[in-house]
């Protein structure tokens, strides 16, 4: 039986802007409810501080970086330590720069508007996520090593 496909989602930690909080919450939503069986969240601070398990996972499995702003810390860190990311979601592309680069946002201060932004970002992550799953799924079922193209492995 083929092992279940897993995708690592690396969120920026974004402590000093609202985009960071939204990025983080959208990523948690992937793990908590949207794709709980296939999402593995990668802790960026641990990744940066030398977390070998996080880095090894990101090398071996596809990854999506979710960045709160154009500094792209999650993308850069993943590329530096584990190789190219499969996909990047920039929160600032989905909500206005003014909001994403606005002051740091506590989860205690989330408004309905913020929640809607989290959902919007989560939808985009899901789109990228499913695209990777489909691609990997196809790779897994495509027979390898066939020279004549008929699938006979001759």
């Amino acid at each position: 039986m083929a092992e279940e496909l897993k995708i690592g989602v690396v969120s920026c930690s974004g402590e000093d802007c609202a985009g960071g909080t939204i990025s983080r919450l959208a990523t948690r939503k992937m793990m908590d409810s949207i794709r709980p069986d296939n999402t593995v969240t990668i802790c960026l601070p641990l990744f940066l501080a030398g977390g070998q398990e996080e880095r090894a996972f990101a090398k071996e499995y596809p990854t999506i970086a979710v960045d709160g702003c154009k500094r792209a810390c999650a993308k850069q860190a993943t590329e530096k330590y584990s190789g190219k990311v499969n996909s990047v979601v920039f929160v600032s592309d989905l909500i206005s720069d003014e909001v994403s680069e606005g002051p740091a946002l506590s989860t205690r201060d989330l408004t309905a508007e913020h929640q809607a932004m989290v959902d919007k970002v989560a939808v985009e992550i899901t789109k990228q996520f499913d695209a990777i799953m489909n691609e990997k799924g196809k790779e897994a079922t495509t027979p390898k090593g066939s020279s004549c193209g008929c699938g006979c492995n001759c």
Binding site: K6, G8, M31, P36, D37, T39, V40, E53
Partner: protein, 291 residues
Amino acid sequence: MSDKYAVLPCNGLDKCAGQMTKEIALLLCEGTQNEIICPVFYRVADARYDKIAKENPLLVLDGCGTRCASKLAGEKGLKIFRKMTVTEEAQKRGVTLPTDTLRLGDEEIALCTALEDELSKEEIAAPVQVVQKVEFPAPAEYLIHKKDKFIFRVPAAGFYFSENDCWLQVIGNRARIGITDFMQQSLSDIMFFTPPPIGAELEQFDEAGNVESGKAVFELVCPVSGKVVAVNTELLTAPERINENPYEQGWVAELELSNFDEEKDFLLNTEAYMKILKKKVDEFHVNKQKS
């Protein structure tokens, strides 16, 4: 009680429970040969108390869960003979300690007297330091099971396991017990450790202490019968050692075995435990992703 004890109270000044440790220490020392160690002075000057602390059984009195006295004992490399935490004892006895005053009232004084009484009258087992020391070698090799980004280690040889995720390492008639890597990862950050009492005679599958994390309280199910001859006192102040290294620095207790030849039939070797581990990991991860 033994002839002489060194008594180390936390002497915390900002809580009632801390004030009580001083009172209990005074009661323990009045009219006896016991000596109080001043924690503040000991922190800055080893010479005054090192000899007393190392040559006599050490009683540690902590006011609260911060366990400053236990931590100080750990920093000084002292073996704790017996410890008591006032807030825990108060809770056990249904006593609510005041939070609006630091002065000890009648109820607090009565509790101090009761705790001193308990410490004084208790039949004390032989001090840990006279028990013959046995070297337990670190595992030469670990087998690994990976699931997503999680890696679970199991010593390749020389260990036994139980289905309750406890391990056992046997050297002659002595054994060390602890909890497995899978269990410590399941629990996440361990913050509290309650050891089994030294001298306790445990049957196989009796409770042998417990550990507590933010997620759960885990009672160690003793894999074999025996008498507890040592506990890992470092875990009293640094229970996270279990997370860091569950099979080596994170050992929980040592036992003198009483019936190992018969009981080992109920234990698992590495290969058998790995099978159970893989199943548990798969089940756990289905639940973890949903939690």
